[in-house]
Symmetry: C2
Subunit: 262 residues, 2 copies
């Protein structure tokens, strides 16, 4: 069984380290920047920890860089002076190309779990897509073996596909959540509970599990129902102007004939 050093103490690091441990992979060491959060996570994982990169175990089967996107290049540069050139470095970012792990390490890979992680919510990895890349075919096989221990849905994708997947994820996760936030603020202004919308949201999502979303599109924009759209734009006057911008551009995108102007 391969063993791993996990670098990073954020949500991705925490959830991935736990999932790897549960699958029987040994987390040899945890390495973090902040003494406190490293200690807390190491305690939860019951593994040794360090906050000093120079004291990192140098013979682990791979190194999981679960750090922020812009730290990947920096940390792998730092590790170039510490780890042997044959070490396998693997980052976990959807938005970052493989080359962010510099040329010093010929063995570079990506282990990108396509999910949003919260501090306090457990994650079921069983059906969670894990998107892999690696410079060397033999490292890809190693990553596949590990990924399949924690998930049934393992895909090998290239930099372009992963970047597009990450872009699509922003639409369905970050942007959708923002629309939920707008709806919540509208309801709050009317002294109505956001709970009222939960069954509708659940059904909106349940539908797309059986049919493609385009085929499920409904609503005033698709119908070209200008009377309802005008009433909505009037109501939106009472809210921040960006709500109107969003209403307008999405309605135009659903039905270009509407051609709603700013």
């Amino acid at each position: 069984m391969p063993d791993v050093v996990v670098i990073g103490t954020g949500r991705v690091a925490a959830h991935l380290a736990q999932a790897l441990q549960r699958s029987g992979i040994t987390v040899r060491q945890l390495c973090g920047r902040s003494e406190k959060s490293t200690r807390v996570l190491a305690h939860r994982l019951n593994v040794p920890f360090t906050t000093d990169l120079t004291t990192i175990a140098s013979d682990a089967d791979f190194y999981l860089l679960a750090v922020s996107d812009d730290a990947i290049a920096t940390v792998s540069r730092q590790l170039a002076g510490i780890l042997p050139a044959e070490a396998l470095l693997v980052h976990t970012s959807g938005a970052t190309p493989l080359r962010a792990i510099g040329d010093h390490f010929q063995r570079a890979g990506i282990f990108y779990p396509l999910q949003t992680f919260s501090t306090d919510r457990p994650v079921d990895f069983t059906d969670l897509p894990i998107c892999l890349s690696a410079r060397r075919p033999e490292d890809l096989i190693l990553l596949q073996k590990m990924a399949r221990r924690i998930s049934n849905r393992v895909a090998t994708i290239d930099d372009r596909q992963r970047a597009e997947l990450h872009l699509a994820a922003v639409f369905v996760n970050n942007f959708t959540n923002h629309l939920f936030g707008i709806a919540a603020s509208i309801l709050k202004a009317q002294d109505l509970s956001f709970e009222l919308l939960i069954p509708l949201i659940r059904e909106t999502v349940a539908k797309i599990e059986t049919l493609p979303p385009e085929s499920m599109q409904t609503g005033p924009a698709l119908r070209g129902d200008r009377a309802t759209i005008s009433r909505h734009l009037e109501l939106l006057q009472a809210y921040p102007p960006q709500y109107t911008d969003i209403y307008r551009v999405i309605s135009n995108s659903i039905n270009p004939d509407l051609d709603l102007k700013p």
Copy 2:
């Protein structure tokens, strides 16, 4: 037990009529415009039907107008010459004020189920919010009694609240579904399955059932991660320009400091 005549043969008519029947309320008659769809639904409900408004049963306890928004006023005007003035007319639209049922009928109400209905998907009414209004308090009590037979979540709201609720529903249902459609088309262009995004979408929704959506916001826009945003805008060049518009206005709304220009 009150009995009802259902006018309309669309998805709302079909699902509501079935839910009312299951709760023990008698659907006396179904009235539709198209011979074929009226016959089909009447057969499914096992009730008499007519396509001629003048032959409508004139002594039902109430009349459910489950017709399109712009047909509500027209149909209730037509019914003014047919039904007695003391008939109770109830429409089912979130976007339409109570006054759309003209002054001829002093007894007017709204029975608005806050849900998106598909032709082929069964609907669980148990937790589905039913939003009620009525001109007369005694009619509101009648509607509450019926609504509570089919749902645990019955709310009485005024025209303004219902209009705002409908606006919020457009954001969480129609707009969210459109974002899902954009993501699907991005994945399709990369030969990737939309299935890959389903666990992420499920988790995005599961989160807001416990915490307010604003508090769950993540992503490059919130972080002010301009490098990732630039890469996304570059990728979006390959897609219809409205995808870029949507990306820009929602990102600006999440984080006004970004101030992304068209």
